[in-house]
C-alpha cells in the first residue's frame, strides 16, 4: 500500500487561535517598543518577541523560506543565551535523486559501542539522563531472538564474547514508517531522500510514535535535556541535531546535517571495524548497492511490512 502524508489536519481552529495570538503579540510588542519604562519581562534571557514568535511558529512544511529563516535565527539566539556558544542551525534540503540507505555487517560488528559514542558526540543528546539513538544488542549466536537480546552488557567485560554476536539497532528510516502514521499532529514525516525527521517545535510529546515503532528507535526527553556546554556540537540542522526541549521526541536522522552535505553519518565515521556502509540507494555504483546485490542481507522484522532502509548483512 502506498502511504502518503501530505494531508495535513484541518487547521481552522489553530488558525483562529493564531490570529488572536498575533493580535496580542502585536499589542504587547507595541507596548514594549513604545515605552522604555515598560521593560521586557524576564523570560529566561529570551526576548518577548522570540517567545511569542516561537509560540506561534507554524509546522515546518507550511513555513515559507523567510519564516524558516526567522525560526532559525530565533533558535540561534536562544541557544546562544542558553549555552553561551554560537550554535549554527542550518537547514540542508534533501538532495535530488538521492535515497539514503544503510547496511551493517553483523559479522564485523564487535560490540564496542563506538558508534553510540560517535552518535552522542554529534547529535546533542541529553547526557544525563543519557539518551542514545543506537542500541547495540548482544545476541546469542545461532538465533535471532530479540527477547533475549541484551543491550546492557557491561563495559567492564571484553567484547566480542564467545557465543555472542552484536546487532546495533537505530532508526531504520522505513519506507512505510508506522511512526509517521501514528503521529496525531504530523510532526514527523518522511523526507524525499528517505530520512524520517521530526519538527521538534511541532511535537506535542504524546509518544504515540514511540509506541508504533517496532525498532525502539524513538527516544523521549522525559526531563530537561542536560547538555553540558563543552559537549554541544555547534554545527546543527533544524530537522536533525539542534538541541531539543523537554517533552519532545527525538531519534536518529542519518545525521541529516552531515549526510545532506555529502558527509558520512557520525556512526559510520566512528565505527572502528568498518561494519557500517552508507550511501545512495539510487546510485547503481554505490557501495550500498554492491552490498545489497552481492551479500546475504536481511532486514529486522521484515514481516511487519515497514520496508526499512536499513539492512544487515554477513560475510
Amino acid at each position: 500500500m502506498k502511504f502518503t502524508n501530505n494531508n495535513l489536519p484541518d487547521l481552522g481552529r489553530r488558525k483562529a487561535i493564531r490570529l488572536v495570538g498575533m493580535g496580542a503579540a502585536v499589542g504587547m510588542g507595541a507596548l514594549a517598543s513604545g515605552s522604555s519604562s515598560l521593560a521586557t519581562p524576564n523570560m529566561g534571557n529570551v526576548s518577548l518577541a522570540d517567545q511569542v514568535g516561537s509560540f506561534f511558529q507554524d509546522h515546518y512544511k507550511r513555513m515559507s523560506p523567510e519564516e524558516i529563516q526567522e525560526a532559525i535565527e530565533r533558535l540561534e539566539r536562544k541557544y546562544k543565551s542558553k549555552y553561551q556558544v554560537e550554535v549554527k542551525v542550518g537547514d540542508p534540503k534533501p538532495l535530488p535523486d538521492v535515497l539514503f540507505g544503510y547496511a551493517l555487517n553483523i559479522s564485523k560488528c564487535q560490540g564496542y559501542r563506538e558508534c553510540v559514542k560517535g552518535c552522542t558526540a554529534e547529535n546533542n543528546q541529553s547526557k544525563d539522563p543519557n539518551l542514545e539513538y543506537i542500541r547495540v544488542l548482544e545476541m546469542d549466536r545461532g538465533q535471532m531472538n530479540l527477547e533475549t537480546a541484551d543491550p546492557y552488557y557491561p563495559s567492564t567485560e571484553e567484547v566480542p564474547k564467545p557465543g555472542k554476536f552484536y546487532l546495533p539497532i537505530q532508526c531504520h528510516h522505513c519506507e512505510n514508517p508506522p511512526c509517521v502514521k501514528a503521529c496525531p499532529v504530523k510532526a514527523t514525516w518522511k523526507e524525499p531522500d528517505g530520512i524520517v525527521v521530526i519538527d521538534y517545535n511541532w511535537c506535542i510529546g504524546c509518544r504515540m510514535c514511540a509506541n508504533a515503532c517496532p525498532y525502539w528507535a524513538r527516544k523521549f526527553n522525559w526531563t530537561e535535556p542536560n547538555l553540558p556546554v563543552d559537549t554541544v556540537n555547534t554545527q546543527t540542522g533544524y530537522l536533525s541535531n539542534r538541541p531539543r526541549e523537554k517533552g519532545v521526541m527525538e531519534k536518529c536522522t542519518f545525521c541529516a546535517q552531515r549526510s545532506r552535505e555529502g558527509r558520512m553519518p557520525a556512526c559510520q565515521e566512528a565505527c572502528p571495524t568498518g561494519a557500517r556502509v552508507f550511501g545512495n540507494l539510487l546510485d547503481p555504483d554505490s557501495e550500498i548497492r554492491y552490498v545489497l546485490e552481492n551479500k546475504n542481507v536481511f532486514r529486522l522484522k521484515e514481516e511487519l511490512n515497514t520496508e526499512p532502509k536499513f539492512w544487515y548483512y554477513s560475510d
Binding site: N105, K108, Q110, G111, Y112, R113, E114, V116, K117, P129, N130, E132, R135, V136, D150, P151, Y152, Y153, P154, S155, T156, E157, E158, V159, P160, W222, S259, G262, R263, M264, Q268, C271, P272, T273, G274, R276, V277, F278, G279, N280, D283, D285, S286, E287, I288, Y290, V291, N294, K295, Y313, D315
Partner: protein, 215 residues
Amino acid sequence: MNRWLLWMFLLCLPGPLWALDTEEIKSIPETAKVAHQYDDPLEAVARVPAFVTDSRIDQLIYYPCENCHTKGMVAPNDKVRTLELMHMEINLDHGKGRFWCTTCHDINQRNQLISLKKQRISFDQPYLLCGQCHFARQRDFFQGAHGKRKDNWFGPKKLTNCTECHDPHVPQIRARLPRKEPDPRLGLSIDNSDKHHRHQPWDQAKEEHKDEVHQ
C-alpha cells in the same frame, strides 16, 4: 487400480534424470581458458571504481627501512630465527607459521613490499599484497563491502587502507572493552552481580508483581 497407476508413475519419474550424460557436464571444453592471472598487481585496481587511500609511509616508525638494511649496516639474512637486536616487538602471528619477513618484504629493496610472484609493491598499497590470499576480501574492499570509506558518501572515494585497521603481523582484531553501557529506563536499574543470569531491568518489575495471580 488407481494405486497401481500411482506406483507406475512414481517409478517412471527418475527416468529423465538418468538420461543426462554426467560425463558431458563434467568435462571442460578445450576452448575454455584458465582464469587470467594478473602480471602486474596494479591490474586489480584498474578494473574497479577509482579510489585513493591515505599514505601509510608517513605512519611507519622505521621507514625508510633502507637506512639500516641496505646501507651496509645490516647484512641481508633470510634465515628464520628469533630477532634479538631490532623488531622484537613484532610477534608474527599470521599464516600459521608459513611466513617469514621476506615473504612480504623485499630482501633486496627494503623500502618495498614484494608479492609472491616477485613484483614490488609500495607500502602505500598493502591491499595489493593482502589480496594475493584474501582475494574475496580484496574485491569487497574495492567495492565497499569490506573496510571503510572515509569522509564522504559521494564524490572522490577515499578508502581506509588494510594496515590502518589490521596489524599485518597480527591481523586479527583483538577483543577489548566496550564503551559505557546505556542507562536503564528511568526508575529501573541494572544488576550485574550474577554473571550467569544477568538481571535485566524488567526483571525488577517481574519480581514486584510475582505474587499477583493472573486470572
